[in-house]
Every structure is written in structure tokens, then in C-alpha cells.
Symmetry: C2
DNA sequence: CTGCCTAGAGAAAGTGACTGTCTCAATGGA
DNA sequence: TCCATTGAGACAGTCACTTTCTCTAGGCAG
């Protein structure tokens, strides 16, 4: 598994993301070229494209994407998907508070920024927002079969509900962003998704684990 | 109002869309350049960009976008938004059956194609799909305030529900596409959105017009 | 009907994101 | 230790999209 190749890959991705974020914060997203980012991260432009695909991909690359179908099934398998989502958001926020990698302490007096720093660009930069939507769309297509597999909903309904979940989460995240990010995101998700709970409440009594 | 300038604009947009669709069907979306489209439509490339913004915009340009806030309010104002959506879809399908402009009869033996021909690209061409998602996202942001204005939901919930509506519609449309487009889209929307009806059923008894 | 005046269509050059292809070094296995 | 393969870098090319300028022709006085 984790050979040197894989290590290089992970380290490079992390470095590129950090340096790119620094540059974006400094000059604005549009004013930064891939070549600058590559130079700042000391890799070739080709590598940036190989690792992230697009400029926006640097910001929206998400561990959610590379989650295996099995892990996703575990994640969504038990009970109300909204509760699963809430658990994931809370876990993410808790991990973010503890943050971040200890090994970058040897690189100078750089302030530790919140891992949510990049989220700003999700809403501030239109092209990034589009990329986020594309990601959510892919996520919806991945979880729809899992929702359909429970047998409670038709395939069409499973697709609709999957999109309602992922883009509903996005809407809650936007409200969190617009409010300045003071309260926890999970609060927004919990409140925002409440109207959707009826989907499972109504027909889930047979399986209320 | 409809001066010659506006007439030129509408006619040019229509011509560009038709010619572009012809070229896409013939050579594939990626293999067609904006210059080719402009040449085929006998306008300048600049005009294509001025009228549609992007290459994908030629396919996803939607009257929904330029709908005024007032018209949107009329459209969504009365009762269950899902019913409003269904009404709109049914009206669109009925109009599509009657189809299309009589004045293009003088242009040669070209087959009348369904106005849904372009929908194929929504799902077959990734970059177009992304553009559609971006459009739906914008639509969601436009209708969220209208949903919030009813006062039944908080702002966050209104945003979530708005996204659930527009991307739920998209999911239903995809199922329709995957099934080959035989049955009416409205059927898919009606079936797919049924789990979401609880949102209004539960608290809408005061206003069941 | 005539003449200004401005919106807007076209022309053209530039930018940079992204895509191939090739080479070569380094890796991991025999 | 040697070999096959993976993958990083270099490089050239394409084309979507932007910006700027010019100049025509529509819109609107008078």
C-alpha cells in the first residue's frame, strides 16, 4: 500500500492546496495561474492537473469523492440518512477543531488556518461554486443506489431524495457561510433538513433502529 | 419593446442553437468549436459569447433564467410548490407536442426535432451536465426567498427545500432520460417528488387552497 | 424626412486552462 | 542486482473565453 509513490502524491497534494490557498488569499482566485501554483508548490503544472484535474479541483478535492462504495454503504447504511449526515458533519467539525498535521511545524511561522478556509471560495468564487455543485451531483449519483437498496422508495424517488440530501446540505452550508461561520455547521444542517425528515419518519417505523 | 435589435437577437439565438445542435449531433459536442458554430449560424464568434456566455450555455439557455421575479412569484405563489412545478412541466410538454415555429418551413427538408433533443446532452456530456447544475443552483437561489416569504419555514429551511425542489426535478428528469424518454416527464416528477410532499402536507392545512 | 447618438455586431489579438505525447528517473518486485 | 512499470516533468498545441476597438445601423429627436 503506502509506498513512496503514494506518500509523494499525498504530500504534493497537500502542499499544492496550501500554497494555492495562500496565493488565492493574496491575489484572488482568478489572478493566480496554475503555473504560479505549481512553482510555489515546487511541482510541475502537469502534476497539478494530474492530481486535481482542474484549477477549481484544488479547492473542492474532497475525501468524500474517493470514499469507497463500501465505506459509503457503512456510512449511510444505518437508519435515517439525515442522522448519518449529521454524524459525519459533527465528526468533521470535531476533527477540524483538533486539527491539523503536526509535521508542518518545521516550515516557518505560518498561521494555522481553519480547514474551512477553503469553503469561503465555494460561495465567493462562481467557478468554484459550479465545481462544488458538480461534486455534489456526483455524490448524489453515488448514494442514490444505496437509498434505493433499502426498498422503501422507487428508483426515481431514491434519486430525488439523494439530490435533496446532498444539495440540501449545500444549502445549509451556504446559510452557515452567509452567517459568518460562527455557529457550528451541524446546527444549520439539523435545522435546515428538518422538513425533510418526514420522508423517513412516515414510513420508517418498521426499521427504526 | 420588440424593435429590430431585439428581433435580431432572438432570431440569432434560435439559429445558433439549431445549427449548434446539428453540429453536435453530427460530430459530437467536444469536436465542435465555437467558430464552426458561429460560421454555421452566420454570426461572429463574439456574438455567440455575447448571447450565450459559454459553449454549454448554447444548450442550457433556459427561459427559466430570464423569468422576472414577479412572474416567478406568480408561478410559485399558489399552494404546493410541487404542484406548481408539475403544472409547469405539463404545460411545457403540451407546448412541445404542438411545437414549433412555422416560419422555419422555408429552409429545406430538415426534420422537425423534439425540443427535448438538447436534453440528451444534459446527461450525455459531462461539461453540459455541470452547466445544468449551475443553472439549477441559480434557480434554487431565486426561489428560496419566495419559499421563505410564506413564513412557514426558516430561511435555512427554505434554502434547503428550494434546492430539494430544483435538484429533485433534475433527478426525475434524469430518470426520464435513462428510461429513454417514452413516458411523460411529468409522471417521473410526480412519482419522484412524492416523498417530498410531506413538507407541505404536514403544515399546510391552514392554506390548502 | 433628416441627422445625430448610442447600442451593439464584428474583427482581432491575447490569455491561460487544459490535453496530449514523449522522455527519463525512480520504484517495487524478481 | 536487474528489469519492467509507474508516474513525474517538459513541451507544444488547442481552443474557450476576454478584452478592446471600430464602425454600422437602429432608435429617436427635431
Amino acid at each position: 500500500m503506502s509506498g513512496l509513490r503514494e506518500r509523494w502524491r499525498l504530500k504534493a497534494m497537500h502542499t499544492i492546496q496550501e500554497r494555492a490557498l495562500d496565493l488565492f488569499d493574496e491575489k484572488g482566485f482568478a489572478a493566480v495561474t496554475i503555473e504560479e501554483i505549481a512553482a510555489a508548490a515546487e511541482v510541475s503544472p502537469s502534476s497539478v492537473y494530474r492530481l486535481f484535474g482542474t484549477k477549481e479541483g484544488i479547492l473542492v478535492a474532497d475525501e468524500f469523492d474517493r470514499m469507497s462504495p463500501e465505506a459509503l454503504k457503512d456510512f449511510l447504511g444505518s437508519g435515517d440518512p439525515i442522522d448519518s449526515l449529521l454524524r459525519a458533519v459533527r465528526a468533521y467539525e470535531a476533527a477540524a477543531k483538533g486539527s491539523s498535521e503536526p509535521e508542518d511545524a518545521g516550515e516557518g511561522p505560518r498561521f494555522k488556518k481553519s480547514p474551512w478556509r477553503r469553503v469561503r471560495y465555494f460561495f465567493a468564487e462562481p467557478s468554484v461554486r459550479v465545481a462544488v455543485c458538480a461534486n455534489l451531483d456526483r455524490a448524489g449519483r453515488r448514494i442514490a443506489p444505496l437509498i434505493a437498496a433499502t426498498g422503501e422508495l422507487t428508483e426515481t424517488q431514491a434519486r430525488v431524495v439523494a439530490n435533496a440530501l446532498v444539495f440540501g446540505y449545500f444549502a445549509a452550508l451556504e446559510q452557515w457561510y452567509l452567517d459568518g461561520g460562527s455557529r457550528p455547521i451541524a446546527d444549520y444542517v439539523e435545522e435546515g433538513m428538518r422538513p425533510l425528515r418526514g420522508i423517513w419518519r412516515s414510513s420508517d417505523q418498521e426499521d427504526s433502529a
